[in-house]
């Protein structure tokens, strides 16, 4: 399930929601707001998403991950709005029978999310300036 939320993400509650008696492993990824990007001091981030397509395209990514790395449960939540340093911006969790599928599916989901889903990030800098982040161009220079 792919979701978008405007409120803080409760990672523990999400993890519990993936409980499955057949699962022998669980893997999660948390994307946090950091205070530095490309040499500039960041004060806060602003995320914007086009929710209808984040949900539908995100579900497509989860379905692809399940076909490639068969898992039992997976869930992804992305937050939008103004976020402060240290806030949780995105959470991906995967439960599977064995650890390999959980690790690989989790990695696949976050990697695809970053380049495919209509989500945008504006950095607000300590010096008062702000700018939209272009992760696809960043990827051409070694990735994030």
């Amino acid at each position: 399930m792919m979701e978008v939320t405007t409120t803080s993400i409760d990672a523990e509650a999400l993890k519990k929601s993936l409980a499955n008696a057949a699962a022998g492993g669980f893997c999660s990824f948390e994307g946090w707001v950091r205070n530095l990007n490309e040499g500039r001091d960041v004060e806060r981030l602003e995320y914007e998403a086009y929710e209808p397509l984040v949900v539908s395209e995100g579900q497509r990514v989860l379905d692809e991950a399940r076909r490639k790395f068969p898992f039992l449960e997976a869930r992804c939540v992305h937050r939008t709005g103004l976020l402060e340093i240290g806030d949780l911006a995105v959470w991906v969790g995967v439960a599977s029978a064995h650890r390999d599928e959980a690790f690989k599916a989790c990695r696949y989901i976050i990697d695809e999310l970053k380049v495919r889903l209509p989500i945008w990030k504006k950095e607000h800098y300590v010096d008062g300036d702000s700018d939209w982040v272009n992760c696809e161009r960043c990827a051409e220079h070694g990735g994030h």
Binding site: P52, L113, V115, L117, P118, W120, W132, R137
Partner: protein
Amino acid sequence: MKTITVRYFAMFREHAGLGEETLVLNAATAKDVFEQTRLRHGSSEPNGHCKVAINDAMADWTSPISDGDTVLLFPPVAGG
């Protein structure tokens, strides 16, 4: 000529100064809509890093445009 509703997001919305407009365009493909609105609003972003959706379905730049379509122009994405 086709009547097209164009929706702008993130930096495109800021460049255009609006989130949506309805235009009468001589456009065959999504790329045509992108180029004509880019000229209209003076954006320098090439389409190579951008994405497009038509009527809430992800599309390609070569996707055909029909009269009455809503075209969503997405600047480079940056989730996560």
